[in-house]
Subunit: 437 residues, 2 copies
């Protein structure tokens, strides 16, 4: 009889790996933050004795969602400016507001709000890109969520740094500071091809290689981005990045709505990971990422919400549904991105893209206990023929009831355990009052 | 001092008409099922005395959603068959299941489940198309929701009728039976151009004109539908319908994903109402309805969820968000279908399309008290700059707390008052067990 930390009994366990499997009436055993075993509930009682048992009738357990692209602190700008194209939205609303308001306390409060929203919708790991990444990492550590912190680099001055050299210097300092953290990783985050020039990009490539860090960048987000680059340099941004030696399996290309067949071949050949943000791409009218084509070429496609300022939520359940629906009409094929593949995109493919495929993204023995429980015994998911279909196409984020990260329960019957929901709402209102005054 | 039935105090009231207006700290007065007044809360106390007062701090009141296209009874097939194109999905899954299982009790239980889901997500009126419309109307009446019952007509035999003549005969019988019902209207519902031939369509046109009923039909849903018609007849389905004299403001054309510029001109000229079902069109890879182009030509575009078998929910809040996002990428313009216009599409435009524009769809004095309250004081809608933006882009259906139809409260703190949620879930499971056995 083995003594363990906790056991979750569930109606269904969907491990994501092996693909397509749905385990019925199984239990998941957690010890020391890891998944110790997954067994039929009926066979469990003589093998494990747990300090805590959770009896989740009518629930499915899935791996926690991996949100591979967000700007967490921007939660304080939710719905501030809508229904505008990317350039106008950035230049007339987002950047001026950021210039006036972004500070350590803005990033602290915005990131807490974002993490609270993510945990309440089943996300257990996120990949961020924003100013004051040192604050982001501290807030993430205190909340208990798993995070990849983007070490942001831009050519022009912001409150975080004055020029590319200073951004890179701060990136290296922060890398050193957080490299021992169990729940936190980092990656270089040069903002976009049109905001970072060749020299810093080359330096980032060398440093990323040396430190074994991924590079996370907005790429081919809009037609304008690609057309302007072609006009000014004669090259598409992806070509330029390739010439600079950036394209590799450690390169995370976010958005990628503007892809020729040659671009897709290049991406597949270099093993670039694509991060798909369907709702942001729709809202900013950026375009449609050819997800089905990329998957057919063997490209890893992961899922991100982008920041709430262009989404306007951090809801990976909604994003997964949008991705599945949109892939079909984009490919003109209703079989494109079926439910199980959409769930994989939102979990294991995300972990793989971030270099965390051995640690999280699926429910397998030995992996971290990053787990999301979804209550399917609701009117909105009745009747239930196939749990994965219901999770992708019918369930909403409010059906997420319990969430564990590395075995620690961070959401308990929809209550956050490491953050104070009422306080976060009050603090968000205070920021709103300041910003719009 | 006027004695009234009830008063709702709310943080915001969004009447939809006048367009773009958001009233702060107002109250809505209900008497005899109608909206008696909308006034600033501060000025109210010396004018009205109410039997019931609802104090909805942090809530917005909007007109109840009008779901202009669904097949309610199909709720019993939610998620039964996914990730398949329309033809294969219909011919190999939906139609065989219907042939085996559809009955009066199937329609009764499926429609109750659908109405429960609709009320819980803020829908106060729906337009249905299915077999046993007599049962649908009875269930709707008992639930208290407002409904338009589709008088279905198809050429081929089903459990409801053997041939077009019998369908039309039953349609006329049902029309007579329900024409005195306060909360129920009816419309002819010939299924689609490819399932109803010229002779019954001509008869429907005459009868609809005589009885002053709208006609509700799936039109130009897929490329295949249009291509086959062109090949077989030399005409696009819309041309044929026009030659038969069907196209008019009383004609509700559902889906309309395949529209040439000439089709759009024809539709605009005839005043046809377009019913947009974005999520169903995505899921079946049918195509993208050119919503922005239609609106610019002055066409009324309303919103529907379609049946859950192709959606897989009856969530008008999600549908409204999908419509707003999708319109932008379809038009290549992030300003297409802004938040207020999306809300109008989901409410007043729906009422207008169904010929109920004088009765429901906006919060105006004298109209029916068909009202949905949404709690925006949640972490997921914090901070709040613009309530309509939050409702369209951030809020989820679980934030709908209270719903009134004709002044009768049918959802109270998320509890249904006229239907038994637990019983409906249990009954749905029983059907699932039978159907998949």
């Amino acid at each position: 009889m083995q003594q363990v930390d906790s056991i979750i009994h569930a109606r269904w366990i969907i491990p994501v790996e092996p693909a397509g499997v749905v385990l019925e009436d199984h239990s998941l055993v957690i010890h020391d933050g890891r998944i110790e075993a997954i067994r039929p509930t009926a066979t469990l009682s003589d093998q494990f004795q747990a300090s805590i048992e959770h009896d989740l009738q009518g629930h499915a357990l899935i791996p926690g969602f991996v949100n591979t692209h967000t700007h967490a602190a921007m939660n304080l700008m939710r719905g501030m400016a809508d229904d505008l194209p990317l350039k106008q939205w950035l230049e007339q609303h987002i950047w001026p507001t950021e210039a006036q308001w972004v500070s350590e306390s803005f990033v602290h409060d915005g990131t807490q709000l974002a993490i609270a929203e993510m945990l309440r919708s089943g996300t257990t790991c996120f990949n961020d890109m924003y100013f004051f990444p040192d604050v982001t990492s501290r807030v993430a550590i205190n909340s208990g969520i798993r995070a990849m912190i983007g070490l942001i680099v831009i050519d022009f001055p912001t409150i975080w740094a004055q020029d590319a050299d200073e951004y890179i210097g701060k990136a290296l300092d922060l890398y050193d500071q957080i490299k021992g953290e169990a729940m936190i990783g980092s990656c270089f985050a040069p903002h976009a091809p049109y905001t970072v020039s060749d020299q810093p990009l080359s330096r980032i490539r060398m440093l990323a290689h040396e430190l074994n860090l991924p590079i996370h960048m907005h790429v081919h987000e809009t037609t304008e981005e690609v057309a302007t680059a072609e006009k000014e340099t004669g090259h598409r941004p992806l070509q330029r990045l390739d010439e600079l030696g950036l394209l590799s399996p450690d390169f995370l290309a976010v958005h990628m709505t503007q892809l020729s067949d040659a671009d897709i071949d290049l991406v597949a050949e270099r093993g670039v990971r694509v991060i798909h943000c369907p709702e942001s791409n729709l809202k900013l009218a950026s375009g449609l990422c050819p997800v089905d084509k990329l998957l057919r070429k063997g490209v890893t496609v992961a899922l991100g919400t982008d920041g709430v300022a262009s989404n306007d939520d951090l809801d990976m359940m909604g994003e997964m549904s949008s991705a599945a629906l949109l892939a079909k009409v984009t490919a003109n094929n209703a079989s494109a991105l079926p439910a199980h593949a959409a769930l994989r995109m939102a979990t294991l493919s995300g972990a793989e893209a971030l270099g965390l495929g051995e640690i999280t993204g699926s429910l397998e023995t030995g992996k971290a206990a990053d787990i999301t429980a979804i209550d399917l015994d609701r009117l909105e998911t009745s009747p239930l023929y196939h749990p994965v279909s219901q999770i992708v196409y019918s369930a909403s984020r409010n059906q997420v009831t319990n969430v564990w990260v590395a075995g620690r329960q961070l959401l308990k019957n929809r209550q956050l355990t490491s953050l104070d929901e009422e306080e976060l709402i009050a603090r968000a209102s205070e920021w709103r009052d300041k910003i719009r005054s």
